[in-house]
């Protein structure tokens, strides 16, 4: 067994910042990550990081924009924390050497981004995330923080009181991908989950192959609710063949969208008569698909993003890597021709429920970054608001886990404070296929009976290790059955078809039927590769179970919420319904079944209450 004060799961932007903060606070901290930290998907972020740094801008304006962008589903205490802390955190990155682009006077450059009332998106060319990730990893090296590199975390060691809010997290179970060694990691003070987004739930995504929602699924199975899972952002400009992202920076710099008739449709058809191409992502994504559905798409699939008029010099200066992406992954020369683009899954607004200190309802268990939901982005994230989230909440979670007093959180977690029961009519039973059958072992279900919270921390950690060993053995011992790749592909296809930018009741129900079928298949899953050495077959099989949990949660939330808010659009009810829906969708894993409930949104900020306004761009 390995032992540390704080264990951070994941080495992306959020995990690195959390680890640095925990160490600053004096904790013995280690990162456990399935990828070497510099391989994390934070490196793919292009556009920039929002911070109110300049005269004429203020955190209040940033907060107002963020709340408006969230379509009033963000919680004010989280949003205000983000906007207040972001400027200092960005300067901190600069002090760590991050190579931001510079203005003539030598100050960090900022550019306009969709939904922002001030050009506050601070950037480093079109590779802000790469610079951020590497800069923070450098700080990790400087501080000598230990990294368990290429270790896959597959289970949390959590006590088993009846009410999740009474439970405590004592560590994690992970296996060394390189050697196959399965081991427990005891965390004396806390575990911070920073496992990133769930893009692999869909088949067309800007996310990496390793973005499988592991942290969210592990926390969910341990009793932490998932929050607002139905809110998935589809980025309007991804390359059709791979899903590789063309940054919003292109439109920020003046890039224009055209349909097959050569019309500038954002204005021409009134999708966003004021902001045009810079309207928020959901608006642009739906506009593009509407164009395609109206027969004005190119090859019936995509639209064109043109930046040629910006001129070679400006493109090379600010958007050079876009040229490489278009060339390498789509075979298009952006200096000479428009680039084909279409909406692709991009970001999950929802995730593990936390408060503004990053803590979940389980004591000692934290989450930060894309896997968490504080909630800052509500129903729609604005571009450039995820990177500040990583560093602001990564830092807070790290500090808090290591024992720093951050004051009492204003956001409540678990079934504490105000909440109401939810209901949704499903065509098939969601959740475990055999809530008490034999195969739950392979599915990751708990084998041991409840102790009612009476064991010692070490015993909980050992028990989690035993359960995980049983699961891995059962997957490896099975000689035949279905392989994860088949199940994964079916889930991804159904999700992209039915739970996309446009959602309707029948499609959502179909997705639930497909997911049920996939869960049944998963009962029969097996791992063909029997080697202990670098067994990616085993790893992906476990990831696929996580994808199933997340896909189901996204679909259930989408089916229950019959309104149009932010990224979530319902055919049957195409308007925002504040009278019923100013509340967060919560899903708890309860004896193998997802339980739906709701918690009201907090619109009361430090100094003012945010009044829901029409979100028009």
């Amino acid at each position: 067994m390995y032992e540390h004060d704080v264990i951070v799961v994941g080495g992306g932007g959020a995990g690195l910042r959390a680890a640095i903060a925990a160490q600053e606070e004096g904790a013995d901290v280690a990162i456990v990550s399935k990828l070497h930290p510099v391989r994390s998907h934070t490196g793919a972020a292009e556009g920039g990081i929002n911070a109110a740094l300049r005269d004429g801008d203020s955190w209040e304006k940033h907060a107002y924009d963020t709340m408006k962008g969230s379509d009033y589903l963000g919680d004010a205490p989280a949003i205000e924390t983000l906007c207040q802390d972001s400027p200092d955190e960005v300067v901190q990155l600069e002090h760590w050497g991050l190579a931001f682009s510079r203005d003539e006077d030598g100050r960090m450059s900022q550019r306009p981004f969709g939904g922002m009332s001030f050009p506050r998106t601070t950037y480093a060319g079109a590779e802000t995330g790469h610079q951020l990730l590497h800069t923070m990893y450098e700080q990790l090296v400087k501080r000598g923080i230990q990294v368990y590199d290429e270790w896959y975390v597959s289970r949390l060691a959590v006590s088993d009181e009846e009410d999740p809010a009474d439970r405590t997290c004592h560590g994690v179970v992970a296996y060394d991908i390189q050697s196959g060694e399965l081991s427990a990691f005891r965390a004396r003070k806390g575990v911070v989950l920073a496992t990133g987004g769930p893009g692999q739930v869909f088949d067309h995504t800007t996310n990496a192959v390793s973005n499988t929602g592991d942290g969210v699924a592990m926390a969910y199975r341990a009793g932490v609710p998932m929050e607002d899972m139905e809110f998935i952002q589809f980025h309007p400009t991804s390359l059709p063949s791979t899903g590789v992202l063309i940054s919003e920076g292109v439109r920020g710099e003046g890039g224009i969208l055209y349909n097959s008739e050569g019309e500038r449709f954002m204005f021409e058809y009134g999708y966003a008569s004021n902001d045009g191409e810079l309207a928020s992502r959901d608006v642009v994504s739906r506009a593009e698909l509407s164009e395609v559905n109206a027969g004005r798409g190119i090859e019936d699939e995509y639209v064109h993003l043109d930046m040629r008029h910006l001129g070679e010099e400006r493109i090379l200066d600010r958007l050079e890597n876009i040229l490489h992406l278009a060339k390498d992954f789509e075979g298009v020369n952006g200096l000479e021709e428009p680039m084909p683009v279409k909406p692709g899954q991009h970001y999950a607004m929802g995730g593990i429920e936390t408060d503004e200190n990053g803590e979940t309802c389980i004591s000692g268990l934290y989450a930060a970054g894309e896997c968490a939901c504080a909630s800052v982005h509500g129903s729609n994230r604005l571009g450039g608001n995820a990177l500040p989230e990583l560093i602001v909440f990564g830092k807070r979670a790290g500090h808090h886990a290591a024992g720093r007093d951050l004051g009492k959180a204003k956001i409540q977690t678990g079934k504490r404070g105000e909440w109401e029961v939810g209901e949704v009519d499903t065509p098939v039973e969601p959740g475990d296929v055999s809530a008490s059958g034999e195969d739950v072992v392979a599915d990751g279900g708990a084998a041991a009976s409840s102790s009612g919270g009476s064991l010692s921390p070490e015993e909980y950690v050992d028990r989690a290790l035993d359960a995980e060993r049983a699961r891995v053995e059962s997957l490896l011992n099975k000689e035949e059955g279905v392989q994860h790749a088949e199940i994964r592909a079916e889930v991804q296809k159904s999700m992209t078809r039915n739970v996309n930018v446009f959602r309707e009741e029948e499609g959502l129900k179909q997705a639930l039927r497909d997911l049920r079928e996939a869960r049944e298949k998963y009962e029969d899953v097996y791992v063909a590769d029997k080697s202990r050495t670098f067994n990616t077959d085993l790893m992906q099989t476990i990831e696929t179970r996580n994808i199933l949990d997340l896909a189901e949660a996204i679909t259930l939330g989408a089916l229950a919420r019959d309104e149009f808010r932010g990224a979530h659009w319902r055919k049957e009810n195409q308007e925002r319904r504040d009278d019923v829906w100013l509340k967060h969708t919560m899903l708890s894993w309860n004896d193998g079944r997802p339980e739906l409930w709701y918690r009201p949104v907090i619109l009361e900020g430090e100094e003012k209450t945010y009044e829901p306004k029409v979100r028009s761009y």
């Binding site: 793919a44 390189q178 490489h324 390498d328 080697s531 670098f534």
Partner: protein
């Protein structure tokens, strides 16, 4: 009636709801016709594909697993992968793994040349497999792990030594005086270090370098480039620059490089590695440092 709507009505229609929907119907109709035509064409193509060898690519992939009886002796496996336009070597490997042999093992994550996981030896050259179009390669496509590194399994190599070298050059920003707010940096200086900050730690350069193959302690192109990134950053100040040059002109540092340019040729991020190394040599001389 919908198909009869004349072209110019379509253009004027945006103001008029009724006409607009007529125009839309006409487009939908066109779309349906196009789709139908495309479908039958696609079907014909699929059949043609099945019958012609040209639409598959043959990959010869290196296999090794220390634990599996049949794989302890390295061997090459053949995979015939159906080809589509734009397909990369990584796409082909993923296809082979997901459809033929789930034990086929390789690192990959981002699929967009930014995570640096999938540098391999493809047709005799270090390349990022996600950034390499099959159509640019001669068939059969030979895929091997990076040379000069220990193979863990199939295409996965041990990166430990590479990481050690990267971390040996004090690869973090250091300065003696920090202002309260942001530090200023000139555009020119930022431009100067720009290329050097692009490194994704893929290890292709190190694997291609003869010197590194012969001298295990040689820092190697990537680590020296990392040091360049800081040495040339005006924000660190003169004193720190001096310190960095001292690290670089150690016995296994810049002077080992024999300007063979192999690293520069293989770097998927187009970093002018050899130039950077040469520039550091000149800086070292300029600073009148002693060298071996």
């Amino acid at each position: 009636m919908s198909t009869q709507v004349p072209e110019q009505v379509e253009e004027e229609s945006s103001a008029d709801a009724e006409q607009q929907s007529a125009a839309q119907q006409s487009r939908m109709e066109k779309k349906r016709q196009n789709a139908a035509a495309r479908e039958s064409q696609e079907q014909a193509e699929a059949e043609e594909k099945a019958s012609s060898e040209e639409d598959t690519y043959l990959l010869k992939v290196f296999r090794y697993d220390p634990e599996v009886a049949g794989k302890q002796e390295p061997r090459f496996d053949d995979f015939h992968v159906p080809y589509h336009k734009g397909m990369t070597v990584l796409d082909a490997l993923m296809y082979a793994r997901d459809h033929y042999d789930s034990s086929l093992t390789f690192r990959h994550s981002c699929r967009q040349a930014i995570c640096g996981s999938d540098a391999m030896f493809v047709n005799g050259r270090q390349r990022l497999s996600c950034k390499t179009q099959l159509s640019d390669l001669e068939e059969p496509v030979r895929v091997e792990p990076l040379p000069h590194q220990e193979v863990v399994k199939d295409l996965v190599v041990d990166m430990e030594h590479f990481y050690d070298q990267m971390e040996a050059v004090e690869p973090y920003f250091q300065t003696n005086d920090l202002p309260e707010g942001e530090q200023l940096q000139s555009r020119e200086n930022r431009e100067k270090i720009k290329m050097s900050t692009r490194c994704i730690w893929c290890g292709a350069c190190m694997s291609s370098c003869n010197i590194a193959a012969g001298d295990n302690q040689y820092l190697g192109p990537a680590a020296i480039n990392k040091a360049y990134r800081f040495t040339m950053d005006e924000r660190e100040g003169e004193e720190m620059k001096q310190h960095r040059l001292e690290i670089l002109e150690q016995e296994h540092g810049v002077w080992r490089c024999q300007t063979q340019f192999s690293c520069t040729e293989v770097c998927p991020k187009d970093i002018p590695l050899t130039e950077h190394i040469q520039e550091l040599k000149r800086e070292a001389v300029k600073n009148n440092l002693k060298f071996w």
